[in-house]
């Protein structure tokens, strides 16, 4: 047994937890096993934080969260908040939005609209939107997930409302006034371009919105 993986170190100000190694699962198990011993020993001392060179910021955050909520360590919310910020600044999204993004991994719920959406109408939904009908100019679709139109899309469609760049917009006849996916906004070119007479899918590729014909795999 490697005893030196977890090491509580007392100073005159309080106690640090030093963690060596990068096997997160193993560290977790060790922590569960040994925590009570340490707790008894350092009862009453101020906890100053976790030091771990080989772990990522996310992992350190997770350990902090466990220490606070599972083992009752006295870690202030401000400290945790700061750590959250450090971690999520890498993704350039607020922690809250990140949480919602993760739900997108499960695609979210889907709203079905039957009929034509007309100018001035707006549908906003936290999941995907499927329109069984047309979307006229001046109508607005906003979805956190994907947008599918089983008809002609002439209005404005915004998929991936929270910055999800994996979202797509697809339509049987894709002629939008404007398309938005995540934070990217594109509009139809001013001059006419050749169009495919097939359903088309718009998605982000290398930071740009591309539109490609939908060709079923044969």
């Amino acid at each position: 047994m490697k005893n030196n993986i977890l090491n509580f170190k007392g100073t005159k100000d309080g106690v640090y937890l030093n963690i060596k190694g990068s096997d997160f699962q193993f560290i977790n198990k060790e922590l569960d096993k040994r925590i009570n011993q340490y707790l008894q020993f350092y009862q009453g001392a101020k906890f100053l934080g976790v030091k771990a060179q080989d772990l990522t910021e996310e992992q350190i955050l997770e350990i902090n969260l466990m220490l606070k909520y599972k083992h009752g360590f006295d870690i202030s919310l401000e400290e945790l908040h700061q750590e959250f910020k450090n971690v999520f600044s890498k993704y350039k999204v607020d922690p809250i939005e990140k949480e919602e993004d993760s739900s997108q991994g499960e695609e979210g719920l889907t709203k079905f609209i039957h009929g034509t959406l007309r100018s001035g109408q707006m549908i906003k939904y936290d999941g995907n939107i499927v329109v069984v009908g047309d979307v006229n100019p001046g109508a607005f679709l906003k979805a956190k997930g994907n947008i599918i139109v089983l008809g002609t899309l002439r209005g404005v469609a915004h998929a991936g409302l929270n910055g999800n760049t994996k979202s797509i917009v697809a339509a049987y006849n894709l002629l939008p006034t404007q398309l938005r996916i995540g934070d990217i906004i594109v509009r139809a070119p001013d001059e006419d371009v050749a169009r495919y007479k097939v359903p088309e899918v718009a998605k982000i590729h290398n930071g740009e919105v591309i539109i490609e014909p939908y060709l079923p795999n044969k």
């Binding site: 001035g120 707006m122 006034t177 404007q178």
Partner: protein, 270 residues
Amino acid sequence: MDNEKLGTAIVITSGKGGVGKTTTSANIGTGLAMMGKSVVVLDADIGLRNLDVVMGLENRIVYDLVDVVEKNCRLKQGLIRDKRFEKLYLLPAAQTKDKSAVKPEQMLELVGELKKEFDYIIIDSPAGIEQGFQYSIAGADQALIVTTPEISAVRDADRVIGLLEAKGVYNPKLIINRIRPEMVKKGDMMNMEDISDILAIDLLGVVPDDEEIVISTNKGEPAVIEGKSLAGKAYMNITKRIMGEEIELLNLDSNNESTFNKIIKLLFGK
């Protein structure tokens, strides 16, 4: 821009719908930009926006008038630059809101801001005399009344002139749209003297009923740009008159008058 010099805010209004307010706004705004002025055309018809399509800028809209007055975005973000003229901008109306979204005080503040940056602010007012009309005229220094040679349109124009006076917007100018010279000649359509006499306000210009307007609207390119059509010429003249030039009224007959008529005129001086 010179801080002390403020621009002029002109509201285009009519009372009656469908007389050509939006077309007039687009053409005057574009015309002023063609003359080198910095211009914002402001679509005040919340819920029924159209100035964007007439100017061919509908696919560039991200923010709108309501976003700007509610400060969801900066003023600069709401302004859409025209694709042809560098000094021409559109502030589009919101489409998914209604007229209650903007208050006269907000409009007054907004127009005040715009006047600091631009030479002209052209406000395309909605039809009617309700809320939309009230906030449209809130910041206006001048008003242009658009009417067509029909009783219903002239009557509504008269009502609007009275309302403008009540709100302290005096000396509105008249634009008569969709005049059909051949009908005027037959005596089956009121002519410009008839209308301006009845309304008792100054005539700024007359625009003939011109197929070219339909074509230019289809293309999203105001007729004043091409400038070859009678309507386009008429709008350019109106633009110049707004800028203070003295320009004679367009001879609407020049294009479709037969040689026979011209000779008669020469002979009898009529």
